[in-house]
Amino acid sequence: MTVPNFVTLEQVRAELADVASYAAAAGLGLDASMLSEANPLFYLTFSNRDDIEFVAEFDCRDYPLNPPMIEFVDAAHTRRATPNLYPSCFHPLPCVCARYNRKAYKTLGGPHDDWRLIDWQLPTQAGPKIDSLAMIVSDMHSKIASSTGRMG
């Protein structure tokens, strides 16, 4: 099952208002300039305790039925998914290992064959439901801001 592109785009645009408010207050860099029906992407730049910047790509294809695919990329968005692009606080695959990341699911190459995509809004281990893009951003912000160094 897939979500029509225009539905995904409208949903992402609606939720980006909260993401933008949160990002502005937290000092995160939001770049949604490439967001379109064909490419439902946006980027956020996080900083850790060492002031190292990390750029995360949120590919929202089939959102909100499925969670976004979250991947760390370089500033030019050309290199991706290498340990030195990741903060040290995530799974060494490398992967943001949470239900809210499509990459974490076994069917898409991730470590988890015990999760179903349809349940992506459930808590990962303990904690709250992470059921919106702003909640995803807040969770990542909290983890990255308190971490140091790079994964590799």
Binding site: A25, S47, C97, A98, A104, Q125, G127, P128, S138, S146
Partner: protein, 108 residues
């Protein structure tokens, strides 16, 4: 209703005991908490400067119904992570200061 346990009431930014008050803003992933928003909030972010960071965390969780106790809730001032037991005054927080509540879920 302002946050009486911390504000003390009184005009001119001072509580009844003469302690200065501040009216802050807190951005959360579920919206902004301020003296005006959200409209239906029964608590407002008005605090004596001796109030603890933890008081603000408790109140903003209440306003936005962050009920899970096993989550990590952290307040940030810019990139500074605020320690829960320190006072607002110790971070030189003034009226209209914007804080951020981050909500951290579990890891797998």
């Amino acid at each position: 209703m302002s946050n009486d346990k911390n504000s003390g009431g009184g005009p001119g930014g001072f509580g009844s005991g003469g302690q200065p008050k501040v009216q802050i803003k807190v951005q959360t992933p579920r919206g902004l908490w301020s003296m005006d928003d959200p409209k239906e909030a029964t608590l407002r972010p008005e605090y004596a400067i001796a109030a603890k960071v933890q008081d603000v965390i408790d109140d903003v969780r209440n306003v936005f119904k962050f009920v899970e106790n096993d989550s990590k809730y952290t307040l940030f001032l810019g990139r500074t992570e605020l320690e829960p037991q320190r006072t607002l005054a110790s971070y030189q927080i003034k009226t209209d200061t914007l804080l951020v509540l981050s909500v951290q879920g579990g890891n797998a």
